[in-house]
C-alpha cells in the first residue's frame, strides 16, 4: 500500500475563498440597490428595462447564494460562534435603538426581541467555548 491520495490535507481544510465572499457581498449589494431603485420608480418601467433589472437581480442573488452555500459548508467552531453572536448583539441592539429613536419606542420592540435572542446565543456560545477550554486544560493543553 505505497499509493498516496491525489489530494493533500491542506486542500481538505482550505478556507472559503475571499473572492467568493466578496462576490457574494457585491452581488447582494447590487441586487438590493436595483430592487430598491425598481421599487421606488414612480412610473411603470419599459419592458426591456424591467427584464434587465430582473436579470441583474438574479445574477446578484446567484452570487450571494453561492457565497452563502460556501460559508455554510465550512465548520462553525466555538470561536466563530462567539464572534457571530457578538456581532448579532451589536447589530440587533443598534437596530432596536435606531428604530426607537426614529419611529418611537414601540418600533424598537422587534429589535429588542432580536437583541434578547442574540444575547441568548452569545451566552450559549461562551458556555460552549469555556467548556471546551476546560476540557483542553484537563488534557494538559494551556
Amino acid at each position: 500500500m505505497s499509493e498516496q491520495p491525489g489530494f493533500t490535507p491542506e486542500q481538505v481544510i482550505r478556507p472559503v475563498s475571499r473572492g467568493i465572499v466578496a462576490a457574494g457581498i457585491a452581488g447582494l449589494t447590487g441586487a438590493t440597490m436595483i430592487a430598491v431603485l425598481w421599487a421606488t420608480e414612480p412610473g411603470t418601467l419599459p419592458t426591456r428595462t424591467r427584464a434587465a433589472f430582473a436579470g441583474l437581480i438574479v445574477i446578484g442573488l446567484s452570487w450571494t447564494v453561492l457565497a452563502l452555500w460556501s460559508l455554510l459548508r465550512r465548520p462553525l467552531f466555538a470561536a466563530d460562534r462567539v464572534i457571530g453572536a457578538r456581532l448579532a448583539v451589536v447589530f440587533s441592539a443598534a437596530t432596536a435603538l435606531v428604530s426607537a429613536v426614529i419611529a418611537g419606542p414601540l418600533a424598537g420592540l422587534p429589535g429588542l426581541l432580536l437583541t434578547a435572542g442574540a444575547v441568548l446565543l452569545l451566552v450559549r456560545a461562551r458556555a460552549w467555548r469555556d467548556r471546551l477550554r476546560s476540557q483542553a486544560a484537563q488534557r494538559g493543553w494551556i
Binding site: 500500500m1 499509493e3 498516496q4 491520495p5 491525489g6 489530494f7 493533500t8 490535507p9 491542506e10 486542500q11 481538505v12 481544510i13 459548508r73 465550512r74 465548520p75 462553525l76 467552531f77 466555538a78 470561536a79 466563530d80 467555548r129 471546551l132 477550554r133 476540557q135 483542553a136 488534557r139 494538559g140 493543553w141
Partner: protein, 191 residues
C-alpha cells in the same frame, strides 16, 4: 482469544496515546485552533484514504469519496461531543460515504449472518499479507478486516462503525479470516 488483534495488543500503548492526542486535537479544533485542525486532518488523511481505497478498489474514486468524507466530517466536527471517540466517528462517516458509492450496495449476494463460532481458522496475519489478500474478499468481510487489522480498532469500535453487535463482528472476522486464508493460499502463501 479470537477477538483480540495481536498487532493491536502490541500497539496498545501507542493506541491509547493516539486516542488522547486525537481527543485534544479535536477539542482544540472545536475551539477554532486552525493548526490543531491541520494536524488532526494530517494524521487521518492517509488512513481514511486507505480505507476508502481498499473498499472501492479504484484510486480516483477513492480521492473523490475521501474528499466527500472530509467535507462531511469537518462540517460535523463542531458537534462531536465525545472527542475520544473521534476514530470510530470518522470511520463511520467514511463507511457511510463508501456505502453510498458502492453500486448495488453491500448486501448484494451476501450470505446470511451465521451465529458466532469458535475461531477454528485463526492465524497470525501481518498488515502486508492482509493488504495483499483484501481485494479478493467480499466487501462485508473486507471492511471488518480493514478496521480490525489495518486500523487496529477493537471489536466494540468495529461494531459501532458497522452498526452491528460485537458478536456479529466476531463472526464476520472468523469468516473473513477463512476467506482471506483461502485467497492467500491461492496466491501461493502457506497456510
Amino acid at each position: 482469544m479470537p477477538d483480540v488483534n495481536r498487532n493491536r495488543r502490541a500497539a496498545h500503548c501507542s493506541d491509547v496515546t493516539d486516542r488522547q492526542r486525537d481527543a485534544l486535537l479535536v477539542i482544540r479544533a472545536q475551539l477554532g485552533d486552525r493548526s490543531a485542525l491541520t494536524e488532526l486532518v494530517g494524521h487521518w488523511h492517509l488512513p481514511v484514504w486507505r480505507y476508502v481505497r481498499a473498499m472501492l478498489g479504484d484510486r480516483s474514486r477513492a480521492d473523490d469519496v475521501s474528499q466527500e468524507v472530509w467535507a462531511r466530517a469537518l462540517r460535523a466536527l463542531p458537534r462531536l461531543r465525545q472527542p475520544e471517540r473521534f476514530a470510530p466517528w470518522l470511520l463511520t462517516i467514511a463507511r457511510r460515504s463508501v456505502t453510498a458509492n458502492i453500486a448495488g450496495g453491500y448486501d448484494r449476494n451476501a450470505p446470511d449472518e451465521p451465529p458466532p463460532t469458535p475461531d477454528g481458522a485463526q492465524m497470525v496475519l501481518d498488515r502486508t499479507q492482509v493488504s495483499d489478500g483484501l481485494a479478493g474478499v467480499p466487501l462485508r468481510e473486507r471492511e471488518v478486516l480493514i478496521l480490525f487489522y489495518l486500523h487496529d480498532l477493537p471489536v466494540d469500535d468495529c461494531a459501532e462503525i458497522l452498526g452491528v453487535p460485537p458478536g456479529t463482528v466476531k463472526s464476520r472476522l472468523n469468516r473473513a479470516r477463512r476467506l482471506l486464508r483461502d485467497r492467500m493460499i491461492e496466491k501461493g502463501y502457506d497456510a
